[in-house]
Symmetry: C2
Subunit: 452 residues, 2 copies
């Protein structure tokens, strides 16, 4: 149900420890000593809510990322952190990344139902697959699953989760104290799922939550990823470097929806943007340069090696990239590989230049400018068929988010592009997406939760 | 490090939806319509903290329990709920039950480390094994693991978790902005665990938390359970019906500690008590009778069938128990089976009488009386070698907890048996238990988190 009135864009705050720039923790405006202090994230969440943003979001991985020496990206686990933030916010959506590769659907469906109750209907699930050997090795496996198999598992995982969320009808809980009937047992049903990857009896041990399902989010842009998104996702985070690329991706993905019986409004596309904000363009560029100057090339090279599936250790920083494999031979993040390889080729970058270019957003678009220039960029992408909204990735935190909320959001509001107050109660309502109807037919009845 | 001064007892609030009595939800003093409202649990947690209790605790199961029609014990998942409660409390410990049977040690260690950071050192883990077929069937298995095997897996699970918590030294995070060194890489080490049940590379992706490890709690009283507790647990919840049984259990468990190189102070024993509180004894007994009168026999019979591993459906409520299996043939909760069977035999109870007796605490001790009488009971068990503290199980919530905090706690304080203010900061400090030293030797050094 899209809201009546003018089309409005959606904003998600993608929060990451000291910020998205890989050298953010070295910058004087950040507070890396606070990344295991919940009050730090409480301030960030409340700042995003002050800006009336739709949601905030945490990425996740199931292993310690990258070269720990120069930037240890460990810290809070998203579901526990977001549960804590649910009590200190009132409106903003809370999106957690949880992998389908090394989790069980029962646990995952249950925790999201719990978060949705805790937050009064503000939970979202960024559905990912885990594609690194270090993650596999934390779960008893020596190699990680092949890309296509990971998506097969992900599809079945989501199917099981949605069946579990539907295993209680909305009106199952009766609480008839006089007759001693707590639940209408016919409205709580096992799911009896038996598939390729999972066998799950159900029902869930959580009553149906305010949103029915958490908002389903997806962030992979490979062929497998786009097809998965077209089938299941309601919001998509994507990395697009140019307006033309953004338009092509937008059109491609929206066009895929019809084959799953879905309309274009059923899925919101949010390209990432890392806004480097200054009160003048020169100030913004100077801040960008400060951050680049703080990069540790050894760290950047290790990150780049991971993205490109190619060991770059020891190569001259001022030389070109070596020959790269084909996307089909990449078993990690395929779309990020292609984006980075394309960026280096298109602009003829040296390794050092590529590391600098990727430092701010790991392949997401970085834009340095004044609040007006940034608002112009967002308006252009939003009105020119490249975006329904944006995944905002502040290069440094908390300042980069505060600047966005205080200086960019008001411009978007003045232009009539963004809400000035929350009008909905749930995350789905913020995004203009419907609450899923349960799948238990009203006519089904059975005694004591057993199948008819 | 036990605190100097007189020996003080410890109190844990065991919270359960509308209360521990199985008919609590039908009683006018309860609010079952609020069990998926976090503000309800927020009130309970703040009430327990007002009483200066050491901790609060949630049990857990990985399937919907019992006869859903008459008492659907679903609701929040403990780790998400406790994470939410961490932000609205300041002192009280937060203990979550997590099963070792259908979880991965990496996820579990990580979530508890996250909760410990979120709460500033107040996390506790009640380590259980899952012993029902309904739980197994939610995780792809048609039968559940044999009791001894479940404990084998539990031991290895805890070993892996403690290695993961120790995979970061306390002083690993350097944040040397000038030199660009985030972490002393020699102080973050893989664990390279390869065992019978798990292969986990590590390190954890969470820096070492305030308590080092969450408080390790255990609640099984079978032979396997007691031996597990003697090896790992720092607090034990147990069901004991009489002072003599409590003393025997206390002595037995404390005597087992030496073989693991532990002292009696290293483990606190907290028998459960369901206090039915009235301003007179007659008022307390009347409340107990009210609750009994609200029981649904069909529900009680189903619960009893589960505890006794015996289908009792259709048996006359006013007749005796049928012949029961031996404990060695029970593959669920062995100690609860024996306790219930013994209770019925000792007191010659009919099925109806047994259901009434178990309604308040599912085998835990129920005591109805005035605040003075309840304080007397606690003092007796505490001073006569049966308890280091108590697992307080209010029959109805929130009133039963409010009455305990407002009327029983002050008596314990007046008698010098219980704290009047929190003196410690962490859950371990409340219980007088030491923070575990990390296991990485200070001399170990290696580059980039690789083993030397």
């Amino acid at each position: 149900m899209p809201a009546a009135g003018p089309r409005r864009l959606h904003l998600n705050a993608f929060l990451m420890n000291a910020g998205h720039h890989d050298a953010a923790w070295r910058h004087p405006r950040t507070q890396p000593e606070r990344v295991t202090d919940r009050r730090y994230f409480q301030h960030l969440a409340q700042t995003a809510e002050r800006g009336k943003l739709d949601s905030l979001f945490f990425a996740d991985g199931l292993a310690l990322w990258g070269k720990v020496k120069h930037n240890a990206l460990g810290g809070f686990e998203p579901l526990t952190l977001l549960s804590a933030l649910a009590t200190v916010t009132e409106h903003i959506g809370l999106i957690a990344t949880v992998s389908t590769t090394f989790n069980d659907p029962f646990h995952t469906a249950r925790k999201f139902a719990s978060l949705d109750h805790l937050s009064g209907g503000r939970a979202g699930w960024n559905i990912v697959t885990s594609g690194t050997v270090d993650e596999a090795r934390n779960f008893g496996q020596d190699a990680h699953l092949e890309h296509g198999l990971r998506y097969d598992r992900a599809r079945e995982f989501v199917e099981v989760a949605t069946k579990l969320w539907d295993s209680w009808e909305d009106d199952a809980v009766l609480l008839d104290r006089v007759r001693g009937i707590y639940v209408d047992a016919g409205k709580v049903q096992p799911i009896d799922h038996r598939g390729e990857h999972f066998a799950v009896q159900g029902p869930l041990n959580v009553p149906r939550s305010p949103q029915g399902y958490p908002l389903l989010v997806q962030a992979g842009s490979s062929e497998d990823g786009k097809e998965f998104a077209a089938q299941y996702a309601e919001a998509v985070f994507t990395a697009q470097q140019t307006l033309a690329d953004g338009q092509a991706f937008y059109k491609d993905l929206k066009n895929r929806l019809a084959r799953y019986g879905r309309s274009e409004d059923d899925l919101k596309i949010l390209p990432g943007i890392c806004p480097v904000i200054g009160s003048t363009e020169a100030e913004a560029r100077a801040l960008e340069q400060e951050l680049t100057d703080l990069q540790v090339p050894e760290y950047g090279l290790a990150q780049l090696s991971g993205m490109l599936g190619t060991d770059l250790t020891g190569l001259p920083l001022d030389g070109p990239l070596p020959a790269l494999p084909e996307e089909r031979d990449i078993n990690g993040n395929k779309s990020r590989f292609t984006l980075v390889a394309e960026l280096a080729r298109r602009d003829g970058l040296t390794l050092r230049e590529l590391i600098a270019r990727l430092g701010g957003g790991r392949g997401h678009r970085v834009f340095a400018g004044t609040p007006e220039q940034i608002a112009d960029q967002l308006e252009e992408w939003f009105t020119q068929g490249a975006a329904d909204g944006f995944n905002v990735m502040p290069p440094h935190l908390p300042g980069g988010l505060e600047d966005f909320v205080d200086h960019v959001v008001p411009l978007l509001q003045d232009r009539g592009l963004f809400r000035t107050e929350y009008t909905g109660r749930t995350l789905r309502e913020h995004y203009g997406l419907p609450r899923p109807a349960g799948r238990l037919a009203p006519s089904v009845t059975a005694a004591e939760g057993q199948p008819a």
